[in-house]
């Protein structure tokens, strides 16, 4: 009896006793759901690298904001806009493979961010906070802001669900179905940028990609429908938040990194467990029979 009580206490006690842990769990769950929604399309449309670039593109903006005492979120939003513009110009105008160009832009923005931050007197603290986040100091204002981002991201995903799914299958199909690929691709990038801007304070710009990609990738392994994939991704993200925070509390390790690590570990676990099923699917392919009608 005592043992089960001790177990229950170690699983929920840290959250019941500490408001900062409650806030951290609430905030990381909000962020996990935001990232699950945006991340589903990141995974389906193969935008992981662009997502990563966006996450690093916000760094100079945040650094400048910190330098001038403006809220970091404003700087991040401006940084994301600049990065989106850069990615869009590069992918349409420059005769380089997109990954090379985006990679250069990404490293350029990252180094610019570090240069700007190095002017600050609290350089190490600032850059650590930007790169790895600050989960245990969540305020009510942060929670309100994340709720707004969740509503906006969910609204975009709901409104643009049809063109987003068409584009995930084929841009041409979206175009011949009467949807502007340029517009909806831009909207999708905006949604990803919003997720990044809404999440970086918690898990940091370096790790936000993990929350965008890992739960959604786990969802892709398990789901047969896009809506189910999003749901599975959300559940995985929230579970990772809980497990990661608990690990961080009991073992005194970095909270954001623990959450992201848990979500990646969960993906690996599901991938290994589902290998037999996927192998079976693959081996059936050459032998599928054809019926005439």
């Amino acid at each position: 009896m005592n043992l089960s009580f001790a177990l229950a206490d170690s699983l929920w006690g840290p959250f019941a006793r500490n408001e900062f842990m409650q806030n951290a769990l609430l905030a990381s769950s909000l962020v996990a759901i935001i990232c699950a929604i945006a991340g589903t399309y990141v995974v389906l449309r193969g935008l992981s690298f662009v997502g990563d670039a966006l996450a690093h593109g916000v760094i100079p903006g945040i650094a400048l904001a910190l330098l001038f005492g403006i809220p970091g979120v404003v700087g991040a939003a401006v940084g994301a806009l600049v990065m989106m513009g850069g990615v869009s110009v590069i992918t349409t105008r420059v005769r380089l493979s997109a990954d090379t160009a985006i990679g250069l832009l990404f490293v350029g923005m990252l180094s610019l961010g570090v240069i700007i931050t190095s002017r600050s007197t609290s350089f190490v603290g600032d850059i650590t906070r930007i790169l790895f986040g600050e989960l245990l100091g969540v305020t009510h204002a942060d929670l309100a802001w994340q709720s707004v981002v969740l509503v906006l991201v969910a609204a975009i995903a709901f409104i643009a669900h049809r063109p987003f799914v068409l584009m995930s299958l084929d841009d041409g199909l979206a175009r011949t179905s009467g949807f502007s690929v340029t517009f909806f691709h831009g909207l999708m990038l905006t949604m990803v940028a919003m997720a990044v801007v809404g999440s970086f304070q918690l898990v940091g710009t370096l790790l936000v990609l993990g929350l965008l990609v890992a739960p959604a990738a786990t969802g892709a392994l398990l789901a047969r429908r896009v809506s189910t994939m999003m749901l599975v991704a959300s559940v995985c993200g929230v579970m990772s938040s809980y497990v990661g925070l608990l690990t961080s509390y009991h073992f005194d390790v970095a909270a954001g990194a623990s959450i992201v690590f848990t979500s990646v570990y969960l993906f690996v676990l599901v991938a290994v467990v589902t290998i037999p099923r996927r192998m079976r699917g693959a081996s059936e392919l050459p032998h599928q029979h054809e019926h005439g009608h």
Partner: protein
């Protein structure tokens, strides 16, 4: 009177005059002249790289006309998505996309539904019926990523049909299908024509062309265009493919 007005008045479905098609700065086929009416089947015949797919993409509005004039259902290509359906040569198969056959087919209704309109009983009935027509109904709940090539082709063809378009642009719809599957596609094309649909079909197979209203032989230029028995002369086929079909 504009070119498009002329198309409407004459009841033509597709018109092209002195049309050049290609990618970027590269013109693949020059000076295409074409007029179709309801129920017509135009077979585009040629080897790989002959310009069949380029012409179909131009008619679908995915490539801009490089020169000349083209109109589909009285408007520019791509401007009437509810009334024109296009089957690309290699419909994409995604390894990550969680979509069942019935979800892929239902996407054919998106052009009618837009962003917000809910899919109703009629839409679901159309999806079910088209899946029956192509045989996709047998694996309706199977995920796209677990399908064979032939099953994917049947699914994508059902998607195209579910749009209930007036012009069908089909790029090698029988690719990956067995003999029975090919016969089923021929039946579908005949049935679509019977209800007044104009079909433009790109194919390698001369047998597909015999029932066409007109055949366009392509080899990065228009080798011949006319009724099958005239266009498919030995000399034209030799020029197009480099050999003559045995009779």
């Amino acid at each position: 009177m504009s070119h498009q007005d002329a198309t409407n008045i004459a009841g033509l479905t597709i018109t092209a005059s002195h049309l050049d098609v290609g990618y970027g700065l590269h013109r693949v086929v020059r000076d295409i002249n074409l007029q179709t009416q309801r129920g017509d089947l135009i077979a585009l015949i040629g080897t790989n790289g002959s310009g069949k797919s380029t012409l179909l993409k131009s008619l679908a509005g995915m490539l801009p006309a490089m020169h000349g004039e083209v109109s589909v259902l009285g408007t520019r290509p791509g401007a009437a998505p509810k009334r024109v359906a296009y089957l690309p040569q290699h419909p994409v198969s995604s390894h990550t996309l969680p979509l069942r056959a019935r979800d892929v087919v239902a996407m054919g209704r998106f052009a009618h539904l837009g962003l917000f309109k809910r899919a109703g009983a009629t839409d679901r009935e159309i999806v079910e019926r088209t899946m029956q027509r192509t045989g996709a109904v047998e694996f309706a709940d199977k995920p796209l990523r677990e399908m064979s090539g032939g099953q994917q082709q049947r699914t994508h063809l059902a998607q195209v049909l579910s749009r209930q378009a007036e012009v069908l642009l089909l790029d090698e719809p029988t690719a990956g299908l067995d003999i029975a599957g090919k016969a089923a596609v021929a039946d579908i094309i005949a049935a679509e024509r019977a209800r007044g649909v104009t079909v433009v079909l790109a194919t390698h197979d001369l047998a597909d062309a015999t029932s066409a209203t007109a055949v366009m032989l392509l080899a990065q230029r228009v080798v011949a265009f006319g009724p099958p028995d005239v266009a498919l002369s030995d000399a034209n086929v030799r020029e197009c493919f480099g050999f003559t079909q045995p009779h």
